[in-house]
């Protein structure tokens, strides 16, 4: 199965400052471990919400809202797409991630019929 990991990093999500070299090195080590286990399909980081937009749908009406957005805790700062055998496996991997704050969400991707 595929799972999407959404990194809701809290305050960090909105910071334009790059992470410290130590944090980067830790992250890279973890990411490499995932790669060597054949888990990572895709990974990416997102710009702060000040550069983003939202479109709200209401019947035929579309309203565009410019960032930044207030609900810092819910903002996604990065994502992974993993290939794992179970949610439990994803959970075990995620627990090993070198983060000291934020909330990370695991969501299973709906696969085509017959999977």
């Amino acid at each position: 199965m595929r799972v999407l990991i959404m990194a809701k990093e809290g305050e960090q999500s909105e910071s334009a400052a790059p992470p410290t070299p130590e944090a980067m090195a830790e992250y890279q080590k973890f990411n490499e471990e995932l790669l060597k286990a054949g888990v990572v399909l895709e990974a990416g980081r997102l710009h702060p919400s000040s550069q983003s937009k939202r479109v709200r749908f209401d019947g035929k009406k579309r309203t565009v809202i410019d960032g930044p957005f207030a609900e810092t805790k819910e903002l996604v700062a990065g994502y992974w797409l993993w290939q794992v055998r179970s949610i439990d496996e994803a959970l075990e991997w995620l627990k090993r991630a070198p983060y000291d704050g934020g909330t990370f969400e695991i969501r299973e991707v709906v696969e085509y019929e017959g999977m």
């Binding site: 790669l35 060597k36 286990a37 054949g38 496996e89 959970l91 075990e92 085509y112 999977m115």
Partner: protein
């Protein structure tokens, strides 16, 4: 003290079991590889790893899952390894060898760190050992899924639709064969590496193919096996990044797997490549496949057999519709495959491409040359391809006979139904014509 309700305790135990299963999946290959380096053979290493798993199953549901579960399993297995070596020593079996083993075990006091550092090479050693040419293909497949994929005997048996006892037997025999042949746990170098790598790639592709077009049973595809094979391929590509054929195989599997969702119709019936809805192809896997193919191309002067097959798959992946396929390009790639790895099956595929590029008559001429090929005698795709070309040439009655022959040759229920349907269509065409 608060009393735990039985229901809750049960939940905690179930949770621990699920965690153990997941942790085993993540850790078992490294665990077995690390232990094999110490004790010298993967049979013993796997037993020690299993012992550690049993200990975890006893202790974790009660005491909770440790903070570093991988390290816990390794430490537990290591203690048992040292016990085992001591026991063997007291029995005075093979003096010298045990001396070496104890030395090795003592050297590796901090086995964990050693394993963290060299995990790449050890895992590679494990792959090469499980796929050793001294073993039969079936044995290599079973052992690889067991020690590298972390699959249970039951899961492997389910994947291949054979009784559990058959797989268990295969694994036991494989371990015995490796021990009797004194196969050393190592990553081979030089000319031997080339041959041994070919064996590894073959095993991975066998697993993939069994999932991609199941040879028997009621399902046409079994995606779980494809996923296992892809995962093994992706791991291998990270462990041996300079081998072009590894990337070639990964590219081939990624692109083929991108069509899994389009290969099966709503009733479970097979849908052939040119009839597939290309909107259902998995763009992510295609992108990954094309990237892997690029890596293979960058690494070598010319593509190997897997790289070439990936390049053919890439031609289909790049075509926006079946009619836009670069058939002459595919014919040229099949020419190259036929030069490197000639086989009747490759010739048959080449004939299909020729038929598409230069017309059914040209294709049929090539297929007719294969009709008496002994290795294709019971290969259902030969009459299927021949039937297709005959039908395009308007020779419906001959085509019908070929599709019927093809249907009688396949063990796969879905594939048989497809060929029977084609035969019926030909019969109808004949009446209409």
């Amino acid at each position: 003290m608060k009393e735990l309700r039985p229901g809750r305790r049960e939940t905690a135990a179930t949770e621990a079991h699920r965690a153990i299963e997941a942790i085993w999946r993540i850790e078992s290959a490294r665990l077995i590889a690390g232990l094999a380096r110490v004790v010298g053979d993967i049979g013993t290493a796997e037993e020690l790893a299993q012992d550690a798993l049993v200990a975890a199953l006893e202790q974790w549901p009660v005491e909770g899952v440790p903070e570093r579960p991988g390290a816990w399993l390794m430490a537990t297995a290591k203690h048992r390894a040292i016990d085992l070596i001591r026991r063997r020593k007291t029995l005075e079996l093979k003096h010298e060898e045990i001396g070496r083993e104890v030395e090795r075990a003592q050297e590796g006091v901090d086995l964990e760190t050693a394993i963290d550092e060299e995990v790449g090479d050890e895992l590679l050693g494990l792959i090469f050992t499980a796929c050793h040419p001294v073993l039969s293909k079936d044995a290599r497949v079973a052992l690889t899924l067991r020690v590298l994929g972390g699959l249970t005997t039951e899961e492997i048996a389910r994947g291949f639709l054979v009784p559990v006892s058959t797989i268990a037997q295969r694994i036991v025999r494989a371990k015995r064969t490796l021990a009797e042949a004194h196969v050393r746990f190592e990553v081979p170098g030089g000319a031997e590496r080339v041959a041994r790598l070919a064996s590894v790639l073959e095993v991975i592709y066998l697993i993939f193919n069994e999932g991609y077009s199941a040879t028997a049973g009621k399902d046409w595809v079994r995606p779980a096996l494809c996923e296992e094979a892809l995962r093994l391929g992706r791991i291998l590509a990270e462990l041996a990044p300079t081998e072009p054929e590894v990337h070639g195989l990964v590219a081939l599997m990624e692109i083929q797997a991108s069509r899994l969702g389009a290969r099966v119709g709503p009733l479970g019936e097979p849908v052939l490549l040119l009839d597939q809805d290309r909107a259902c192809w998995d763009r992510l896997l295609i992108r990954r496949g094309l990237a892997a193919l690029e890596r293979a191309e960058r690494l070598g002067d010319a593509l190997g057999p897997y790289g070439l097959q990936a390049a053919i798959a890439a031609c289909h992946a790049r075509a926006k519709s079946a009619s836009e396929t670069d058939w002459p390009g595919i014919v040229a790639l099949y020419d190259a495959v036929a030069q490197l790895a000639p086989s009747p099956v490759v010739e048959l595929n080449r004939a299909v491409a020729v038929g598409m590029a230069f017309g059914p008559a040209a294709g049929l001429e090539l297929v007719d040359a294969l009709v008496h090929e002994p290795t294709l005698k019971s290969y259902h795709l030969l009459p299927a391809v021949r039937g297709d070309l005959l039908r395009k040439l308007g020779r419906s009655e001959e085509a019908r006979a070929e599709f019927e022959r093809g249907a009688s040759l396949t063990e796969n229920v879905r594939e048989r139904a497809l060929l029977q349907r084609r035969a019926a269509e030909c019969a109808a065409e004949r009446i209409a014509g």
